[in-house]
Subunit: 330 residues, 2 copies
DNA sequence: GCACGTTACACAAACGTTTGCAATGCTGAT
DNA sequence: ATCAGCATTGCAAACGTTTGTGTAACGTGC
């Protein structure tokens, strides 16, 4: 409906090509006077560029797509902020599309939505693609990068924390404070990330000469409910003095369930969360955490797809943030 | 780079037009045999449709855009879920773009990102547009609808809760439980939404014959910090027995600050949150809330822009959800 | 055998932009 | 006067798709 470049051309008395050059600011290709005329005409007509047409001929766009797996993961926010900030630096726009929660059909839908238009690149936030969909993505010839997820079976670019270190340092942190009965709650063992965390945990325990009881590692899906269930399984008279929540949400689940069981945190039980999102500061006691640098992941992701380099798998740093949920044992 | 419709045509030995019809499933325009041939060829070439080209000629797309004002608002999730669910019913895809936080420049950027391509419609989640940007939006001739925000000064379609009722019912709830000293914390008076809530609050108090002290209404921006500051202002020896948090986050701020001041919730102070997102269940005690139906807002928003009808301003229901943060006074 | 419908396809225009190339006019040097 | 070089602009092709129109081929009923 809106005015086109031709309308402007007519109004300004120049050719469409010239209008295009002026609007794209291809300096050196037109006189200052013409520039003024064209811009005035464009403004008068309320011109809005038709990007579809432009993308059709240039075969590239300035939008980068972020695919997120669920609206529920609270750590998506800082990643997206990082993506936005870095993208704006490169004068790129960001669109986000949701891929549901482990639903291959929704994943496919999200993928085709972005692949069918010439997006510059694709960032996948913590989404675990089905084999079909991964192939779809790879065949699209668009630069992509996974964020906050890692793989051992396939060779794709990803940026994440060192999950083994996450597990190891979390455990070390508690060991150093005198704990020996340490649980790991709500962790997933189906995917690489979870397996790595468990592995780091086991290594730290082994180095400390502690034999990990099977019930100490409670599997789950990182959710609040998974944390609750884990704590329920440990029980009120658990031998554990500390629990590592596999995520912030899981840790909060542990916290609340512990309270239901009559345990005081951190007096009776220490809790260490993994992630370090804002939620750690919202609950009481505030949860100490092994914090990931999600913002940096977003930034690094944009850099990676903008200028893919040799090392396509990168690690962002983690750090311990002490709050109030860990007690030092004698 | 990818295969085009012409490549398929050549391979299948038909014309591009026919290929287009087959792929668009315009049944009746081709024989079963041709259909098979074309589909086989498309598969073999790994054909991916170029939506930009299609949108160029049809002048419409099947994507609807959601503009959200910040990654921080936690109620965006259920709205987006509602949007997704309803959009998928209509076979529409959803893209989300962030408009920053009250930054006109970022708003403009987000707007042009979506306007420059033929999106079907635009949903604005709780974003308060500057005058310029509103005009930009309106001049784009794309159906739009504001969600979770209301206006009294301009005439635009929006869907939200009845904010006056929110304030009124929240206050009523506490009055009915015997409270008379009731604060309102973290509410914004610059925009319609906040003013309405305050107005509902005042009306309920007046009906109960209670004179509202100026300090009882603590203004803010609905944030956690605003809640904290409000509670700080009330002080440990406040005359209030109950506080309404203007949002969940504000309520949590009130809760934690109250605890810092040595007040027990709900024993010493009752708290009622407004919004009712998942965060109410995460903290201890779980916060009772006047809950908005955000999911429904998303659904209604998609319906509104899909089939705009006469009444362009709609109200979604609210309800009281009792948890553990309100004490009944004698 | 003819008129008429139907089916199944090809043809070509159109969408709004970008961009290589050609054309024009001008400047200044030869 | 001629010409090279440059600045400025117009021209037209191209991007990949959709869709209205044209047209064969093939019945069908008389």
């Amino acid at each position: 409906m809106g005015a086109t470049i031709k309308d402007i051309a007519k109004l300004a008395g120049v050719s469409p090509g010239t209008v295009s050059r002026v609007l794209a600011n291809k300096t050196g290709f037109f006189s200052a006077q013409t520039g003024e005329k064209v811009r005035a005409a464009a403004k008068e007509l309320g011109y809005q560029k038709n990007t579809a047409a432009a993308e059709l001929v240039t075969r590239q766009s300035n939008v980068i797509a972020a695919i997120v797996n669920s609206t529920k993961t609270n750590f998506a926010s800082p990643i997206i902020e990082g993506i936005q900030a870095e993208a704006h630096l490169h004068d790129l726009n960001v669109i986000i599309v949701y891929a549901g929660d482990d639903d291959p059909e929704q994943q496919r839908r999200a993928l085709t939505t972005v692949i069918e238009r010439p997006v510059r690149s694709i960032l996948l936030l913590s989404v675990d693609l089905s084999a079909d969909n991964l192939q779809l993505l790879q065949s699209a010839q668009i630069p992509f990068c996974f964020l906050s997820i890692s793989f051992d079976d396939i060779q794709v670019p990803y940026i994440t924390s060192d999950d083994w270190q996450v597990g190891y340092q979390a455990t070390q942190t508690l060991l150093q404070r005198g704990h020996r009965g340490i649980g790991l709650a709500g962790v997933d063992s189906d995917f690489h990330t979870g397996r790595q965390r468990v592995s780091g945990y086991r290594q730290a325990m082994q180095e400390a000469g502690i034999r990990v009881q099977p019930a100490w590692v409670q599997l789950g899906d990182y959710s609040y409910a998974a944390g609750q269930q884990a704590m329920q399984a440990y029980g009120a008279d658990t031998a554990l003095t500390a629990v590592i929540g596999a995520s912030d949400m899981a840790a909060v689940g542990v916290l609340n369930q512990a309270r239901s069981l009559g345990l005081q945190v951190p007096t009776d039980l220490s809790i260490l969360a993994i992630d370090g999102t804002t939620i750690c500061d919202l609950v009481q006691p505030a949860l100490s955490s092994i914090s990931q640098n999600f913002y940096e992941m977003g930034v690094a992701g944009v850099r990676q797809v903008s200028a893919p380099d040799d090392t396509s798998q990168k690690i962002t740093p983690i750090k311990l943030v002490e709050r109030q949920s860990i007690r030092r044992l004698k």
